[in-house]
Assembly symmetry: C2
Homo-oligomer: 234 residues x 2
DNA sequence: AATATTTTGTGATATGAATCACAATGCATA
DNA sequence: TATGCATTGTGATTCATATCACAAAATATT
């Protein structure tokens, strides 16, 4: 979603940094537009928890830079539900309902986050129909994505899911066929619902078969077609 | 979500049935409030498909009465994602984005549906912030629910998932410990991600252990605690 | 009522992937 | 540079559950 489109047309100061916004928004550009200055933002390093499941929170977080993982306590391990990269709003559903975080969000790279008070955010929604429509669209997208992902995870077997993860990283997160794996193998296991050992075995296998090349944590896709085939069959 | 709360405060006729709404809504009560007359609604019988994956559609459907299953084509079988009972809006994410249905919805009981044109629905959102806020809340709820469900499905083993399904039916759908199973065993398999055979075996087992009693398609929960325990462990 | 069709029950077997166990490597920090 | 902790590689074994195969019910259809 293009956040630049959602600058609110009101004549107030920015709630976050109290700066008169140049484009006449309730949030100034720095807080809504990730391409601007890093005024009023918080820095996180890899491993820092940005939002913690179970905690009370009255802020929506806007991820300006970096990558995070959304994860929640499952019955037997910490399920990673999604990898998200900037720009994105974080913790929306959590903060909206009962204000108890229903999942955790942890930085998996350096990250910059700016916090928006939930009541303010709510007013923003009220005041700007375009903004709230955009949010609805995004939530709808998420729901569909969730459905698909869930159906795939449970129906495909491990190889297919791992292939999907790699393709997803390449196309949606890094937009390149060569990238550095942003999570450990056990995390991959928790994302793709297999054991750490299986991930290790399968990655070696893919490399042996010439589908990928691995140099330390760097992964290069050598044969995208093969990956897609592996993803499809089962 | 309590749909009665979302009657829009505008002075137009109902777009669906062109009746001047008594409560001054853009949709008259019959189209927003499921407890009113069945004016302008379509009847479905068990097995009828209300929304078909892949079809073009410009309507949101409002389920006034009955139960439906939301399902979509997975890599190897038709994944059932959720059982929904009235009142509820159906096909929101589908119709919002590209207008191609991303999943199917099929009646699993007699059902009454009233269709709302998407453009109208959009205007409703624009005009009534309370309504759109309610929709956002609901979508957020769905997302959380999705996360939890997905984590459970993949982490728990079959017995636990089946126990969950039974508890979900009892508490959320039928609101009674005795109910008639609304779907076949193979459908249960597709909902809970196991084979039809496993469902059959596990149901017999639960019955043998005195956790449930089955009389044809009727299921009675005899020991809710046991079910919860089965759900928890694995 | 009689036949067809879908749904269910249950055994036997096959299999994907978890788990256990331990070595090896890499990475951080003193 | 050395020591410690986290990550990874790989074999052997176990286990839950899918799959196959067929019989028995139950439901629908003529």
């Amino acid at each position: 979603m293009n956040h630049n489109a959602y600058i609110c047309r009101m004549e107030n100061d920015c709630i976050k940094c109290s700066v008169k916004p140049k484009v006449a928004g309730v949030l100034c550009e720095c807080c809504l537009d990730p391409s601007k200055t890093n005024h009023a933002t918080v820095q996180f390093v890899k491993g820092d928890m940005i939002i913690k499941q179970g905690n009370y929170s009255t802020n929506v977080a806007f991820l300006r830079k970096g990558m995070v993982k959304i994860h929640l306590a499952g019955p037997s391990y910490e399920q990673i539900v999604r990898i998200v990269k900037a720009p994105a709003y974080l913790g929306l559903p959590t903060t909206f309902g009962n204000k108890i975080n229903q999942y955790s969000i942890t930085a998996i790279s350096e990250a910059q986050v700016c916090y928006i008070d939930i009541d303010f955010f709510r007013n923003l929604l009220k005041a700007n129909e375009q903004f709230s429509y955009g949010i609805i669209l995004e939530l709808c997208q998420n729901e569909l994505e969730s459905f698909r992902r869930c159906a795939n995870r449970t129906q495909k077997q491990a190889r297919g899911n791992l292939a999907d993860m790699i393709l997803d990283f390449a196309t949606n997160i890094f937009e390149s066929d060569t990238f550095i794996l942003p999570i450990s193998q056990s995390e991959m296991g928790n994302l793709v619902d297999t054991s750490r050992e299986s991930i290790s075995r399968m990655l070696s296998e893919f490399a042996k078969d010439g589908v990928i090349r691995m140099t330390g944590k760097q992964l290069e896709i050598l044969n995208k077609n093969s990956l897609q085939l592996i993803s499809q069959n089962g």
